[in-house]
Symmetry: none
Subunit: 190 residues, 4 copies
DNA sequence: TATGAATGAGATTTCATTCAT
DNA sequence: AATGAATGAAATCTCATTCAT
């Protein structure tokens, strides 16, 4: 059984994902969660903190998913490709509330909010996870000579773009994710 | 001499670029433009239409810039690379108000608004411009065998992602654009 | 050929009739008339004066119609009945813009406006026209003994009510005007 | 002790009655009620719904008053006359806020608003109450042969007109209500 | 913890009227 | 006479947040 606090977070994630920050109101959240309006500030302080909590909740799942993906890879190249596939898969999995991250990640166009920093740090963990796999791949000879941080930036940028194309635009082709992975592969494989 | 209608558009572009849609108010726009509040609806109807007008204005400049870039290329590969470079350069040129497009393009996370379609169509023109260069490169043997539409999608996705990383996040490295171009080159060159 | 001043009055009558005072705007009027916005104040001064001009224009037609109706009556009773029939007929004749009077006559629920007095006086002329016919009927023995002013008030009240029932409510039966005339007849005939 | 929600309704009834719909503002209502502006939409949703609530509140009192009036009548004719007298009396009783109904009943000149239907239905109850008394009077021989629905329409039209003459115009004579009752009596009594 | 009434600043939008051309 | 850009006050409505219960 879900506590009322959890019900609020769940409703907030759904609504922020669907409508974005400014079109999601306390009233809508409390109605969808089926709890009293006042509980929102009681449990989460204010709107921004709730937004952050929503984002961090999705992000924690995202991190876990990526770490699991890279775990059993035979070499660096394979680890990178698993990372990429997991990234794209997570973003379209129906119950991941991925769009919350589209709305509040450092890659979003939100005006900087108070706890942007906490979000940035969590995303840095993801960046480093990928950079580590690149380092491994360069060491084990499965990747071309890439500076790990820049390489991770380029790859994540590509994933961010592909993801947005599919999630937000009408151009998103069903082949796009496959092509993107092939494209990345060509760009890094030795 | 700038008409008041133009002054409003200019102010709107600056403010939408800087603050996004919902944090840009009529008051801020009219004050920055130095005109009366009521002129906004008089000339543009409502906030959304002004937002659209802002986006289309930037987009028109963007298109012109891309078309000029591909004009003198020796072959398809070179045309594609010029397109990509012009894309990234435009996005960081100081007076382009590029961020307006980050806020209202199909790649943005705006809730669909009324004239989304008009924006979509204009972006399709850009997509087709790139697809044409790919087609040319495949024909002249300077590119690997790519399906032009999917290829254009992948490349634009990569540019979108790189652009967001630089424009919005704290990770944006100064090498990123260069690395992105190299990465694209490796992914498509025969 | 209609002058622009006349076109404005015509448009104003239509719109005031259909939408009432406060939902009729200068913009709508000038657009329907196909002339420039500024001509409205130029020719009519302000909104209230235009409203009054619209009402008085309809009222002048109304008066003429009533006077013509009573002209050839054989006796007072017949004159009264002709008056009543003409009153009701005018109110449903398609091009009379009768509803303007519903909106701005002394029987309307408009908050008193500046030139209410002029409207009141014109309506008094109508009242007196009916009172004269009653006086005649009492004198010639075709009517029961009625105080002409009170009698005119009662009869006009009945017409006002019947008219509103037909023009404004969903209850308006097609027999209502006939029944109303029969009812009046029973109430005054000797 | 009156709740703030009730205070708002009371203030709204007074102001709508006095100034009509469009000249009654949120500011005026909340100031007269002595509560915060935002409570208006909090409790009533929007201006129209508050207007409707005001009308229905007055109408409920009106219905109760009419039902009580017809209760003890000796025959149909007397019941009809009591109905008419109660109708007219209610309309000039100082604390009835009758004018709200003048502004928002189906007999008003309001442009059709959303819940017009609800108002229409409530007025139909009043119409039927009168039609029932006519039916009784025709049956018990105290009235002439009248079709009950049309008869009710004619009588209510007469009351509506008399009421408007007294409430809205400068012609309203103090004898008018008495004369109107006599006039109705002559028109229906056997 | 839980509720939802209460607040009031602020947003968008409307619109009669003025005025330069 | 004719045009429509320009003005700004005022209207309705939203909404995060507070607070008494």
């Amino acid at each position: 059984m879900q506590s009322r606090k959890e019900a609020l977070l769940e409703a907030a994630k759904e609504l922020f994902a669907e409508y974005g920050y400014s079109e999601t109101t306390f009233k809508k959240i409390s109605e969808r969660a089926g709890v009293a309006l006042g509980l929102l500030t009681h449990h989460y302080g204010n709107k921004e903190k709730l937004f952050l909590a929503s984002g961090l909740d999705v992000l924690a799942n995202f991190q876990a998913c990526l770490e699991e993906a890279v775990a059993g890879a035979a070499n660096g190249f394979e680890a990178v490709m698993r990372f990429c596939k997991a990234y794209l898969d997570f973003s379209i999995s129906p119950r991941s509330s991925w769009l919350v991250l589209v709305r509040c990640s450092p890659y979003s166009d939100m005006k900087t909010h108070s706890d942007r920093k906490q979000m940035d740090e969590s995303f840095a963990v993801i960046h480093n996870l990928l950079a580590d796999q690149i380092r491994r791949g360069v060491a084990d000879g499965s990747l071309i000579a890439l500076e790990p941080d820049v390489g991770a930036q380029v790859i994540i940028s590509t994933l961010v773009g592909a993801n947005r194309t599919v999630a937000l635009t009408p151009y998103g082709d069903e082949n796009l994710f496959g092509e993107t992975l092939a494209f990345i592969s060509r760009g890094i494989k030795k």
